[in-house]
Amino acid sequence: MFKELDPILHSQLRLAVMSLLMSVKEAEFTFIREKTNSSAGNLSVQVQKLKEAGYIEVNKQFKDNYPQTTCKVTAKGIEAFENYVKALQDYLQVGK
C-alpha cells in the first residue's frame, strides 16, 4: 500500500521552495523568488500555504524602510519533506 503524497508538497512551486529551504538555514523571499523563477504574487500565496501547514516559519521585518521577509523550514517541515521523498522513492521503485 502506497502512502499518499503530501498534497501540500506535491505542487511545483511549493516543492521547489521546500527543497531550497531544506538545503539552507534561512533565505530571503527575494532569493527564493529568483531561484525558483516565480512571480512575487504566486510565491507569496504558496509561502502562505506552507506557513499555514506549519512547514516553514516566516519572519517579516523592515530594513531601510523596505519589507524584508525571511523563510526558514521548521521541524514539522523537515519531517514532511523526508516523508514525501520516501513516498516518492517507493513510487519510483515500483515503477521500475
Binding site: 506535491h10 511545483q12 516543492l15 531550497l20 539552507v24 533565505a27 531561484k35 525571511t70 521523498v85
Partner: protein, 209 residues
C-alpha cells in the same frame, strides 16, 4: 514556475528537488577573496620582516604591528556591518554560520598566541605554533566545503610549521611562515576564486535555475 497547480509526475518532483538542492549547493561556494586578502597580508608582512632584518629600517615587529592595525580595521568594519547596519545576507547557509563562529574562534586563538609570544614563548616558537593553527583552520575549511586544494594545503602548512618548530633563526621562521601562507591561503584562495567565477559566470549565462 508559475503553473503551480499543474499535476506533477513523480519524476518531475524528483527533478525539482534535485534542481533546487543543486542551486542551494552553489550558495555554499566561497569566492576565496578573504583567503587571498588575509594570505597576501601575512605573506607581505613576513617578507618585509625578512628584509627589515637585513636593513634594520624599523623595529623587528614593525610590519606585524601594521598588519595588526589593518586586521583590527577589517574586524571593526565587519562588526559594524553585522551589529550596527545589520547587513544580512539574502541566504544564510549552515556552512556560513559555522564559519562565522569558527572565524571568531580562530581570531581568539591568534590573540592567545600573540599574547603567549609577548609573555615569553618568543617569536620563533610562537610563529611556528601560529602556522600550526593556520593548518587546522585550513583543514576545517577544506573539509566543510569539500574543497580538496585546502585539505591538501593544510598538511603542507603543517609540514612548514613542524620544520619551523625546530628553527632558532627568526629569519628562517619568517620565510617558512611566508611559504606556509602562500601554500595554505594564497594558492587555494586563488583556485577557489577561479572556480567561483566559473560557477557564477555559468549561472549568469543560464539565468535562474
Amino acid at each position: 514556475m508559475d503553473d503551480n497547480e499543474k499535476e506533477l509526475s513523480q519524476e518531475e518532483s524528483l527533478m525539482i528537488i534535485q534542481q533546487m538542492i543543486n542551486t542551494a549547493k552553489k550558495e555554499q561556494k566561497d569566492d576565496g577573496r578573504g583567503w587571498i586578502i588575509w594570505g597576501w597580508m601575512l605573506f607581505v608582512a613576513s617578507i618585509l620582516t625578512v628584509i627589515n632584518l637585513h636593513y634594520k629600517w624599523f623595529n623587528l615587529f614593525f610590519f606585524w604591528n601594521i598588519l595588526g592595525v589593518f586586521t583590527l580595521i577589517f574586524l571593526s568594519v565587519d562588526l559594524v556591518k553585522a551589529f550596527v547596519i545589520k547587513d544580512k545576507a539574502r541566504v544564510k547557509t549552515y556552512t556560513k554560520s559555522l564559519f562565522d563562529k569558527l572565524n571568531a574562534g580562530f581570531f581568539i586563538c591568534i590573540m592567545f598566541n600573540i599574547l603567549a609570544i609577548n609573555l615569553g614563548v618568543g617569536p620563533v616558537k610562537g610563529f611556528a605554533l601560529l602556522i600550526g593553527l593556520y593548518g587546522f583552520w585550513i583543514l576545517i575549511y577544506g573539509t566543510a566545503l569539500d574543497f580538496k586544494p585546502s585539505v591538501i594545503a593544510s598538511f603542507i602548512t603543517w609540514t612548514f610549521g613542524f620544520i619551523a618548530l625546530f628553527q632558532t633563526d627568526f629569519e628562517v621562521v619568517m620565510l617558512l611562515h611566508a611559504g606556509a601562507v602562500l601554500v595554505g591561503y594564497i594558492i587555494p584562495g586563488h583556485i577557489a576564486n577561479r572556480e567561483f567565477k566559473k560557477i557564477t559566470g555559468r549561472k549568469l549565462k543560464q539565468g535562474s535555475v
